[in-house]
Symmetry: C2
Subunit: 188 residues, 2 copies
């Protein structure tokens, strides 16, 4: 067996979410998180750039997944359809469990600093998707608009998924929300 318990990063994530839920983000110190994980404060900052980032480490994987999905869409797919299909395929990334996602989202929603971080993560996601679309030959305004629309739809669908106690399927909600967007814009 190793010199240290394995999965230090995962233990820090768990401890942080637990404490943020228990006593709130601001009332939790990094030293407390590290102690609960059996590590030191310094080690926390070796794994996460700051106190907020511990809640957002999954956003890189989400971005990569979406970028790959858009890049791999058939050439014949319209930009908005490539983006829609990509988002519909992300349900698997929330397999860590609905409960954990909901607790995490509640913590973020309750704190302005964390909402700031969430916004810039979503902006970065949108920019990455727009870049990917441009690589497929989509011209400038259309690429950004399709990417922004995809992110907006995802936000709406995730909110519905979180608020509905019936535990609906996230991928299906994303599909439905895209259809609603099409209906709204078609009316113009």
């Amino acid at each position: 067996m190793g010199r240290w318990e394995p999965n230090a990063r995962g233990r820090l994530s768990e401890a942080a979410l637990e404490l943020y839920v228990e006593r709130g983000y601001e009332q939790t110190t990094v030293a407390e998180i590290a102690m609960r994980a059996g590590l030191t404060e310094r080690t926390f900052f070796r794994h996460f750039a700051d106190k907020r980032e511990v809640l957002f480490s999954g956003s890189d994987a989400l971005r990569e997944h979406l970028v790959n999905a858009v890049a791999g869409a058939p050439d014949s797919a319209a930009p908005i359809d490539a983006v829609a299909a990509a988002f519909e395929s992300v349900g698997v990334l929330f397999q860590e469990g609905r409960e954990r996602s909901l607790r995490r989202q509640a913590v973020i929603t309750a704190n302005a600093e964390l909402r700031e971080r969430e916004l810039i993560k979503l902006a970065s996601l949108s920019a990455a998707l727009a870049d990917t679309l441009r690589l497929r030959g989509v011209p400038h305004p259309a690429a950004s608009l399709a990417a922004e629309a995809g992110v907006a739809v995802f936000k709406v669908a995730f909110e519905r998924w979180a608020d509905d106690p019936g535990e609906p399927d996230l991928s299906q909600l994303i599909r439905e929300s895209f259809d609603e967007l099409k209906a709204v814009t078609a009316g113009r």
Copy 2:
């Protein structure tokens, strides 16, 4: 004459922008800003919630101006037109001078923390505009969409205004950008 020099808040804003431009946001300490303004660090935090907010104190006025303009639009105006007219009228709020606006924007763009703050200010602006539209009887998705579209157009127009060395008129760029948005969406 008073016990202290007048306009402490304004002197702090000036000193902060100067120093952020001279040596960068992160390399500037609040103590340095306060010293240049002839005040103490503690007084800085009595005027501004944090080190970033000193660059965003005007966003409240911008939001109020836009909300009032939308609320005062004729009942016959379509939501997107009420929003467009509101944004076209904000040019006056940048009368502090193009130069100062450009320097401020360059500082924000160069720093991730400041971009985060800018994003949440724009989100708050969008939410306030959507609320105002709903008070006018605009239903749910349309109100948010019109507000988001207005903010997006403003971002685009401001960027053009900043990048064009010909010092074009901001209000006119906003009008043109709205027209382009209409052209793009009409194509669907």
